[in-house]
Amino acid sequence: MFYALLCYHQEDVVCAWTKEEDDAVMARLGIVHERLTAAGKLGPAARLLPTTAATTLRKDQDPPLVLDGPFAETKEQLLGFYILDCADLEEALGIARELGVANPGGCYEVRPVGLFLDGGARP
């Protein structure tokens, strides 16, 4: 089963990290990422640029409306995601806990994937 791990955190807090703090978090996460990759559990993952760089297309009207910023103002923002290949929810939560130790604060939403298309494009 594929699970999406949606990473939410307060963006102004993450943006206030110093470079050293950011590097330290990424280094700790890197160890977990390596282990997950070796175990064949890790699918595509991404860290997103700040929500200030986001644009929203409201398609519930015709023509659709283009708005600046993320779709909703929330206390915590979607800052990244992982796709994980896990046997069950327990395993996915276990990985989420492990990532959470490396990167405390905010929350992970664990969400089963319904359709997964690996289009092949790579950054």
């Binding site: 102004d12 640029l49 708005l67 910023g69």
Partner: protein, 417 residues
């Protein structure tokens, strides 16, 4: 990151919003700062036990407001009560506070707080120092190091600047606490954007051993620009400003050699440029351009973007950059813009055409380091060695940093060969 460190980061992040709201309640900068400090102390005690609140800024506003009200009441037993209307805002605030934090209500608070710091009576350096102290919460020591003055001198400057603002606020010309109208809001945004770019340039212009003390200024300016953008997401010039700063700061690691000497753009190791910052800058610029409301920051960001996109110096699209400088000369006419355009002309049409553009600027830029530096470099390219040397000597006498002077001395050494 340990728990205390993480609380510190949260408090820093919440500071502009919390302080801005407290200023609206108390209408007094000192009282607002005191309230915020006290709320932070309580957070350090309470958060490790109870966990951090879901909305730290709202928590700090709520606690800060109550603590300060208590202290005002205590003091009032010895002194006369302040006029009732000073606190009229706070009467029903408790119930509303959560809702206020969600919406656009507090965006004008943050803008007002920043705007108060850029009071026109204050010289630019004081505006910057004040914003860094009050809005960003940098320590007096940190700011003093950035400005190369003693801590005591900076403390004194800040105290004077605050007193001046307090005087202005209590007089006719004070910044009102009502939500601003659209025209006023646009004016405030313009003034605040200019101040953020000043903060950025204080950091960006640092060289040599100052770099470490001043680099936080660049990061702080970017952080505040992102904050403004979250509050005013559809302002193309704020997007342009943020993009400009990100695209320039992306080159930070490539701008100086190990000895602290300047490395010019076409000699920089482009592999050292920060790709994430460039990506964010380009994304913001793309968004800004969609609005079709050009402005000076967007045009400057577009110029920086063309440099960022060029994988080698030779791949730079100088013709497009020249067009953009032409636009900038219309939007923001200044001899410095024309001087920068002359650099582009030298790439496109050679040193002679560039020199023809530079010479007429002498009247207005005669005291400007970069004018003499560029003029000397163009004369050198044309083989007019004696005049080039004179130009370089004048440039050195006008240099504002040792790195600038060292760079020109490099040219002079080249001339002797």
């Amino acid at each position: 990151m340990d728990a205390a460190r993480s609380i510190g980061t949260t408090l820093t992040a919440a500071r502009p919003q919390a302080l801005a709201a407290l200023l609206r309640y108390f209408r007094d900068l000192d009282l607002a700062e005191e309230a915020f400090q006290e709320a932070c102390l309580r957070a350090l005690k309470s958060w490790p036990q109870n966990g951090p609140p879901r909305d730290p800024a709202a928590w700090l506003i709520f606690v800060g407001r109550n603590v300060a009200l208590d202290s005002v009441r205590r003091r009032a037993k010895q002194a006369e009560l302040p006029p009732e209307e000073v606190f009229s805002d706070t009467e029903d605030a408790e119930a509303e506070i959560a809702a206020r934090m969600d919406g656009a209500h507090y965006r004008d608070d943050v803008l007002r707080l920043l705007f108060i710091c850029c009071h026109p009576e204050l010289p630019a350096t004081q505006q910057i120092a004040l914003a860094l102290r009050i809005v960003s919460g940098l320590s007096v020591g940190q700011i003093a190091r950035a400005f190369l003055v003693s801590e005591a001198a900076m403390e004194q400057r800040l105290t004077r600047a605050k007193a001046r603002i307090a005087r202005a606020q209590s007089g006719e010309g004070g910044v009102p606490f009502e939500p601003p109208g659209p025209v006023e809001r646009a004016e405030r945004l313009g003034a605040v954007a200019a101040m953020l770019y000043l903060i950025f340039n204080e950091g960006y212009s640092a060289a040599g051993d100052q770099t470490a003390a001043r680099e936080p200024l660049c990061e702080e300016a970017i952080r505040l620009a992102r904050l403004l953008l979250r509050l005013f997401p559809a302002e193309p010039e704020i997007m342009g400003l943020a993009a400009l700063m990100l695209l320039q700061h992306a080159r930070a690691s490539a701008r100086f050699d190990a000895g602290g000497a300047v490395i010019l753009l076409d000699q920089q190791d482009r592999a050292l440029w920060n790709r994430a910052m460039i990506a964010e800058g380009l994304a913001l610029l793309e968004k800004a351009i969609r609005h079709r409301r050009p402005g000076a920051y967007q045009v400057q960001a577009a110029i920086a973007a063309l440099h960022a996109r060029a994988e080698t110096p030779e791949a730079t699209d100088w013709a497009q950059i020249d067009l953009l400088y032409g636009t900038l000369e219309i939007l923001q006419p200044s001899p410095v813009v024309t001087l920068n355009r002359a650099v582009v002309i030298s790439k496109l049409r050679g040193p002679e055409a560039a020199l023809a553009m530079v010479e007429p600027l002498g009247d207005r830029l005669g005291g400007y380091f970069h004018y003499h530096g560029l003029r000397g470099a163009l004369l050198m390219q044309l083989g007019r060695t004696r005049e080039a040397r004179e130009g370089f000597m004048t440039a050195i006498s006008l240099a504002t940093t040792p790195a600038e002077a060292a760079h020109i001395r490099g040219h002079l050494d080249g001339l002797k060969l």
